[in-house]
């Protein structure tokens, strides 16, 4: 099984390097094919490992030492256990699909080869992240995906907005990574190791304060990667990257790494329920907060991104409340339908020549039947309609909230579910229904390549049926995760809740359809709604990006300039030069002591003598006075 592990892990790396070999050359189809093929290999290996793990085994290998100094020992160790194998499956499935899809999507791009290199590298990093058996390895993957995310968001580097977004994403992640790093330091100095097994065995012996801090710092790391408030702004901006990237990284895999971390570190969070509550509350807040922003946005990808954010909030609610397996389950399900949604959006974008405003589309279902179906189904799944995947996972989270007696959270999540349904179908309605507003802009949309649609189909299938794996999944992961079952007390309550939720969601969908499916004009910002305070607030993302810009970015630049021009040059350096100048000036000013006139020279000699004599006399007088 170790072989499969290595194949699963390194096949993407090989793919990446292969693609990189051709990085500078023009597009070569084979690059995409090879990379996809390797990804598929990786997927197959993962699947084999899954079957192995289903048999109750785990695989744990230690490839080699990485860092060993003092008491610190960090190997490149990989573990395939019940949790990581699930992640591996998710990652490999989605990425295989995305890879194949990208062959079509990036067909006309100059950076085709480069794209695959980055994309495969990302998958490799992600695999490292999920498969590592220690926190340092996790951190490698953690930073690795950050790097690839940077490279892919900024893939179209000639676009100012893209590179800006790339840097923003990287730096914001770095802020969180610092938290993570501190968490790792704390772990090391308190448990003496970074290996999961050692750490989790030791963690119970630590003082609660320390454990709390560890939990907080690790979660700060998770917040960055999973774009939780207040580090959320990068995710929406990250949509500047190519759409497959958004599908893979910013929906299915990387952003869920935070959730994975919390799930992985469940022995820690189990000990600190207060932090868990905080995580859950933050998750709930983000769920609502992101959904609200999605309501008014006019950028197709951003809407989906906010929806991702919102769903991540759900996952954190589950993880925070201790329902780790639920969180992981939603992670999985979400990965499928959200990736599908994004890929669909990619098709639409392609068709619309990179137009992103759904108000400029409409009626596309006629030309893009396949995409229409897929996106609609994905949206249904997202909305959590029975029997789609979303229903099983999302409703479960609502139940968790309810069962754990966090009714506020529950209410928020319920509300969010409605909003989710609304904005999802607002999008679907605007894109696929109504008048063909794109004609105004002289666009001739066309359906994507066939094979792209075929490639997407596994996701479609999974989005539909993933819920049915629930029990298998449950049995699998609970051998590692706390196996709490969340059942609402009383059959009655359960049914009321379930059906109520379904009805609520459906109502939202209907409302959205009603409102938007017959839309016939492109809003120009003049309507009353668009000028209302609430709209503007949401439109401007609660003014948070502006706030960051005004409060952090600009002052930091200003401060930097002051540090350089005022402090470094005018104080620190000027002091040094000043000392040198003083010495030099003293020389200039006193060199006239030697004015070349003999008389002056003789006088200086006599002055010297007189001074000496005077000192002698003074000393003698003093000496005698003291002596007497």
């Amino acid at each position: 099984m170790e072989l499969y592990l290595y194949i699963a892990l390194f096949a993407p790396l090989v793919g990446s390097l292969y693609a990189a070999l051709f990085g500078g050359s023009p597009k070569s189809q084979h690059v995409g094919i090879v990379a996809s093929g390797l990804l598929f290999t990786s997927f197959v290996s993962s699947a084999l490992l899954l079957s192995y793990v289903l048999g109750g085994h785990t695989v744990h290998v230690e490839m080699m030492t990485w860092i060993a100094t003092g008491d610190l020992y960090i190997p490149f160790g990989f573990v395939v256990d019940q949790v990581s194998v699930v992640m591996m499956m998710v990652v490999t499935i989605v990425s295989t699909v995305v890879h194949i899809y990208s062959i079509g999507y990036m067909d006309h791009d100059k950076g085709f080869n480069r794209f695959f290199s980055w994309l495969s590298a990302f998958v490799f990093s992600m695999m490292v992240l999920v498969m590592s058996d220690n926190f340092a390895g996790l951190f490698i993957g953690w930073e690795g995906v950050g790097l690839c995310s940077w490279g892919l968001i900024g893939f179209w580097y000639h676009k100012e907005s893209a590179t800006w977004a790339a840097n923003e994403a990287f730096i914001m992640n770095r802020i969180a990574d610092l938290g993570m790093l501190i968490g790792i330091f704390l772990l090391y100095w308190n448990t003496g190791s970074l290996q999961y097994d050692v750490v989790f065995a030791e963690i119970g012996n630590l003082p609660l304060v320390v454990t709390t801090w560890i939990g907080i710092f690790l979660f700060i790391g998770a917040m960055g990667k999973s774009a939780q408030f207040p580090l959320h702004t990068w995710l929406a901006d990250a949509m500047e990257g190519p759409t497959p990237v958004s599908a893979l990284i910013h929906a299915a895999t990387m952003v869920t790494a935070g959730v994975y971390l919390v799930v992985r570190a469940n022995p820690i969070y189990d000990l600190i329920p207060n932090v868990g509550i905080f995580i859950a509350s933050l998750g709930a807040f983000v769920a609502l907060f992101a959904a609200s922003m999605a309501l008014v946005n006019r950028d197709m990808k951003r809407i989906i991104a906010y929806s991702t954010l919102s769903q991540l909030g759900y996952m954190f609610v589950a993880a925070g409340l201790g329902a780790y397996w639920v969180a992981l389950f939603h992670l999985m399900a979400h990965a499928f339908f959200k990736a599908l949604l994004f890929l669909g959006a990619g098709n639409v974008m392609h068709a619309m020549h990179d137009e992103l405003d759904p108000f400029k589309m409409g009626g596309l279902r006629k030309v893009m039947k396949g995409t229409f179906i897929m996106m609609t189904l994905a949206s249904v799944a997202l909305a959590g309609i029975y029997p789609f995947a979303g229903f099983f996972s999302k409703d479960l989270i609502l139940e968790v909230g309810f069962v754990e007696h966090h009714y506020v959270i529950y209410t928020v999540l319920l509300l969010t579910a409605g909003l989710t349904a609304f904005y999802s179908f607002r999008l679907v309605a605007l894109i696929f229904h109504g008048e063909e507003r794109y004609k105004l802009f002289g666009i001739h949309p066309h359906e994507a390549y066939k094979f792209m649609l075929v490639a997407m189909s596994p996701l479609l299938v999974l989005a539909i049926i993933a819920g049915s794996f629930k029990m298998t999944y449950y049995q699998l992961v609970t051998s590692l995760l706390p196996s709490t079952q969340y059942h609402v007390h009383g059959e009655m309550t359960y049914w009321i809740m379930t059906i109520g939720t379904q009805l609520f969601v459906i109502a939202a969908i209907v409302f959205a359809y009603k409102k938007y499916s017959n839309w016939n004009s492109v809003p120009d910002g003049s309507s009353k709604l668009e000028n209302s305070f609430g709209y503007k607030l949401l439109w401007n993302q609660y003014y948070i990006p502006k706030f960051y810009d005004e409060v952090f970015s600009k002052p930091y630049l200003e401060l930097s300039k002051i540090a350089w021009k005022q402090i470094d040059l005018k104080i620190v350096d000027a002091t040094v030069d000043g000392i040198a100048n003083i010495i030099y000036k003293t020389g200039e000013n006193t060199r006239d002591i030697q004015n070349g006139n003999l008389s002056t020279m003789l006088r200086w000699m006599v002055i010297g003598l007189v001074v000496l004599i005077t000192l002698a006399v003074a000393f003698t007088v003093g000496y005698n006075a003291v002596g007497a």
Partner: protein, 515 residues
């Protein structure tokens, strides 16, 4: 031969440089490469022959020089110095191989070879005076390189560089003489042997004063805030090769000296000054990172980034535990590789456009994709991405210091954020966007010479990031013995507590002779 390999390593380049006067101008570069290559191979041989399991000094050589005053020609390497020596020979090779300078290349190569002698000498010396000799002597070739091949302000920059460091090291010299005098008082004999000094236990108040004296010399060299202002000028004005060597090797002399002198000689003082120095280090990290962010000249960005990284090294050194000190020693190597590479990269574009202003560029990624790639790799290494060489050092340094202080490390950790900010911003300005400037439209991508210099660096940067063990292990062993020595020598309660006791863990190999 292996018994005198260090002498050979030190004086071979100098000898070759003298013979180089005979070589004609056209063949000089080839000659330089050949010499540097032989020297590099010799240093690799040193590594090969080095026994990583022994923590003490190896390849010791001793010859009385001025026995009357206790000065001996005493050489030796341990895990701490071994790799910096290899780094020196490596970078001289890289530097000469990728040399694009055409003006008076003969003088330049001869100067470089002399510089190589002094660099190897500093790291191989075990006698304080021999150390000092090479330490000071290294200023001279550098002065010439900056002053003769530099930019418009070269004379100002070179003199500033020279006098500033010279001043600091003179104070250090007084400290060394004091140290020798203490030794004389204690034993009745003069000695400048560092190993002999290690055996002295100084009263704490003397330790403090001596620490300060040594500190001044080292701090200016490192350079630590607020003594850093010579560095941007030196880097800004120096030719590419000068900046490369300066950043990669010369700055390391200061940090190396901290590990070699300050820590084992003055354990109590090290603990006493730990927090003040950590605060200076943090100022270096954050403040210079900010200054770097404000720069308009890409070379200045890299220069200030050097200062910032040196802050992390200092922090790691003053973690006073194995993790931190090993990390800082490793980071010395890492920073050498990465900043050296970055300066080389800046040199590439400077050769083409004769400007280093970032506003002149933009969109280079499309014109020079390979260049952009390598720059990107090195930038990410500089930012401290895992699996690159810098990360190992930075991680360990911060990890080590975390033991001493939570808050300070948290603050210092901002390094990874601010470092990313200025680097990414600079990268964006240089490489991203569209090509606006006509002059940039037809720039050539890297040529063979440049690859020759850069590819090995990329390989090293990644290799040691992925598999640092061959380097880290000898470092670790030697650092452990330093830390143990410090623990044993420490007198104050606090110092005993701050410096971990490793004696329970493994047997301590005495700091003496290994062979």
């Amino acid at each position: 031969m292996i018994d005198h390999i260090l002498t050979l390593l030190i004086f071979f380049p100098a000898l070759a440089a003298m013979l180089g006067f005979v070589v004609t101008k056209d063949s000089m570069r080839a000659y330089g490469i050949a010499v540097a290559f032989i020297e590099f191979v010799l240093s690799l041989w040193l590594w090969y022959a080095y026994d990583p399991m022994i923590s003490g000094m190896q390849f010791m050589e001793s010859m009385p020089l001025i026995p009357q005053f206790g000065i001996n020609y005493l050489l030796g390497v341990d895990g701490i110095s071994l790799f910096i020596i290899i780094l020196s020979t490596f970078f001289t090779l890289i530097g000469i191989a990728s040399l694009t300078e055409t003006r008076r290349i003969k003088d330049l190569i001869i100067t470089l070879l002399f510089l190589e002698m002094t660099m190897v000498g500093v790291f191989a010396a075990l006698d304080a005076i021999v150390f000092y000799v090479f330490w000071e002597l290294s200023l001279v070739p550098m002065l010439y390189i900056i002053g003769a091949w530099g930019g418009p302000l070269r004379i100002y920059a070179s003199i500033k560089f020279f006098l500033y460091t010279f001043t600091g090291s003179l104070v250090m010299l007084v400290g060394m003489l004091f140290m020798a005098y203490f030794y004389y008082q204690a034993t009745g004999q003069w000695s400048f042997s560092i190993l002999e000094w290690y055996r002295l236990i100084l009263p704490e108040n003397f330790q403090l004063w001596l620490f300060v004296a040594f500190f001044l010399g080292f701090a200016i060299k490192v350079p630590m805030f607020p003594f850093h202002t010579w560095l941007p000028y030196a880097h800004g004005q120096a030719p590419t090769i000068g900046s490369v060597i300066l950043a990669a090797i010369l700055l390391k002399m200061g940090t190396y000296a901290f590990v070699r002198f300050s820590l084992p000689l003055f354990p109590d003082a090290s603990v006493f000054f730990m927090f003040p120095i950590a605060i200076i280090a943090i100022i270096m990290i954050i403040y210079t990172a900010m200054v770097a962010y404000a720069q308009e000249d890409i070379k200045q960005v890299v220069a200030y980034s050097s200062v910032s990284h040196m802050g992390v090294i200092i922090l790691g050194t003053f973690a006073l535990n194995v993790e931190g000190v090993s990390g800082s020693v490793f980071l010395m190597l890492a920073h050498g590789v990465v900043s050296g590479a970055l300066f080389l990269l800046v040199g590439v574009i400077y050769d083409r456009r004769h400007t280093k202003l970032m506003s002149e560029f933009g969109g280079l990624a499309s014109v020079m994709p390979r260049y952009a790639t390598i720059f990107g790799i090195m930038m990410m290494a500089s930012v401290g991405l895992p699996l690159t060489i810098n990360f190992v050092g930075e991680f360990l340094s911060l990890l080590g210091f975390y033991k001493q202080s939570h808050m300070l490390t948290l603050t210092a950790g901002v390094a990874i954020i601010v470092g990313a900010i200025y680097m990414l911003a600079a990268y964006k300005k240089m490489f991203f966007g569209t090509v606006m400037n006509e002059k940039n439209k037809n720039l050539k991508d890297l040529n063979r010479t440049e690859y020759l210099g850069l590819i090995p660096l990329v390989i090293v940067a990644i290799w040691l990031g992925v598999y640092p063990k061959p380097v880290l292990e000898p470092i670790n062993n030697s650092v452990e013995s330093v830390i143990q020595l410090m623990h044993d020598k420490a007198q104050s309660q606090e110092a005993k507590a701050r410096i971990p006791d490793l004696s329970g863990k493994n047997e301590i190999i005495p700091m003496q002779e290994a062979h």
